[in-house]
Symmetry: D2
């Protein structure tokens, strides 16, 4: 069924922007990236002078389940988020379907999951039936004339959310850094990987510098 997904809609700026902003002076605004600019970018990242990286913008079309969208939505400084409202829209309901089910970790408090559960297939089967039943009761309510803003109460937290997300390179790098961590939920790590695949090519030197910084 539905998968975590990120697509690029638009962007402003490139590695050269970061270097130009760091120099501030409009008179010294360069047209082409050179070695010195790359050195400057590395210097900025290494010394946590992240403000020049903020003069960039990226707009993404994102799709993720509610439980993950709630986590991601906590990042707000420098980010704008617009999503389909289930108060009004009752069409296009999709559910996240995990490849397998992970077991509770033993020991570690910070790890959210252990390995694949030995009965993963059983739970997948149960889950598939469950989401069908959820959709059935939702559809019954909608067809019976219940307000969508109430009917959505029966939709599980694996329901997919579609949103447009805009922010600076700094903001999205911060999202990536926290979610790529191996203590993050596996689904969050997957989102972070896709985020890197989309953003890194637009700002290759800056992304590398921020990762090394």
């Amino acid at each position: 069924m539905a998968e975590i997904n990120i697509e690029l809609i638009d962007s402003m700026g490139c590695d050269l922007t970061v270097a130009n902003v760091a120099r501030v002076s409009f008179n010294r605004w360069k047209e082409e990236l050179d070695e010195g600019d790359v050195g400057l970018i590395n210097y900025l990242a290494r010394h946590a002078h992240t403000s020049p990286f903020r003069h960039t913008a990226i707009t993404l079309s994102c799709k993720a389940p509610v439980f993950l969208a709630r986590q991601l939505g906590k990042h707000q400084v420098g980010l704008s988020w617009n999503e389909v409202s289930r108060r009004y829209v009752d069409a296009g309901i999709e559910f996240f379907v995990p490849d397998n089910w992970r077991s509770r970790p033993d020991g570690s408090v910070k790890q959210g999951s252990g390995g694949v559960h030995s009965h993963s297939e059983y739970f997948s089967h149960e889950y598939q039936q469950f989401v069908v039943r959820c959709k059935d009761i939702y559809d019954e309510m909608i067809e019976g004339g219940v307000a969508p803003e109430m009917a959505r109460m029966v939709l599980p937290q694996s329901m997919m959310v579609d949103w447009v997300w805009t922010g600076s390179l700094t903001a999205f790098f911060h999202v990536w850094r926290l979610r790529i961590d191996n203590h993050a939920q596996k689904e969050a790590q997957e989102f972070a990987q896709k985020l890197e695949e989309v953003v890194q090519p637009i700002f290759p030197h800056s992304w590398k510098a921020l990762k090394n910084g």
Copy 2:
């Protein structure tokens, strides 16, 4: 079952704080509120000089269903939010139970609900059975050793969320103003009313001035 709820944990400042901050000068910091201070507070609110109202703080313990918590969580400027993480905690699952089910509105695009649905009782019955089944499959997963961060996928968006919320009078007034609107979902309006009941007594003159402003 569970109800929308707000309890006051702590607060900083009062109406006099707002007037004192507006005067800025520490030498003119008054000890007791007088007529002139009330006049100043009204003036500030009427002319949208809201910055003095920001030098206050309120900490609340809140409880609301996921679908409402997601809306409220969008307010972030000047607000801090900490909630129980269902990645780790599998106890104390509660569901929101509406008093009745509202029908889809006819006509108005902005109104989310019409009146009480003629089959409200039927849907309440269906819903009660539904959440029991959700809890059963969640419990089966948890008892079977599935990681809580995955099992939560089967919990519906009516699941209650508990969080601690801290912000200034300005920030909470803004939440109140947007959610008390009659286009807001009825459950959001209920949250806004409870918010006013908790915050208004701490800053009676300021609250009144902001409402009139």
Copy 3:
């Protein structure tokens, strides 16, 4: 001498972006602006649904005196600001020179100035001599080996500041709205006018809708 100035460096998005974001769904992302989009933009502005306007970005090169830059710097939500640091850079010092000197307003508490002062020319003369003396003492310190971060203490608040400013249409419209107000300082109003001249052509329908909204 130096004047308040704003130049466009880069931007992301246009009126169509606002309409597309409001629709959220990537499947309905249009390529060309039509009547319906303009209607949607007007609807959004009229009902204070400003979030779609945030998925845009504008980078400006700005120049203004310290006293004005300090006011403008208070706007921060959704804005990034990078300026030449006078801790390190001692070259290119410029001063703002007003066309004339305004008198203290009589009566109104909110108005910052009355009309042109009858001795405006005298004060212009005094001021010109004054800034020359400031520059002399600054240069004496710099040439004498005083640290620039200390020598800058003698530079008056009419010193020009150069900065790069990035933010969304929403953020810059907010700056404009507060500073175009006739209670704002005349120099702030001038900045606001120049801001409109730069931003309005990029988002003509949105700017008009926000002004009317």
Copy 4:
């Protein structure tokens, strides 16, 4: 003459607040700090879980010269700032007077000053005369009926600013950490030291934990 100064006006919360918020559950809200709470605070700081520290508030009355106030004003996430406006208030003008004048550093690009300049006394003398002249021309303008919002242009960037500053422990710790750095201007370091003297006694365990974290 005037010195950098910070005085506590009000505060909300203590070390126990941080631990209670981290536990979230209102049922487990403790009344007294114990060993376990201190351990929890250290754990939070060590793992950069800084959100519980945000459910606190501190209001300070601050005084610093313009050039430093401009730096400090850049910290804005979670901070509110209200200052005396020199558009309207022309009384109480004070200037910062450094104990001595530092020379330009040799070599290091990041260090803003070297040691005490060999002619420090000479520059102090020059500076004292300079600020007197600034005040004279300002007074002449004010007495001559020039609008205060214009007359302030002749006030140097060593003019003292008085403001009320409110924010969470997290926000002020962040200010402290950036300004206590030995690359910060000496005056900024002095401000940071005074900030620590005021805030640390209110949250002794949290402050220590954040410093060690």
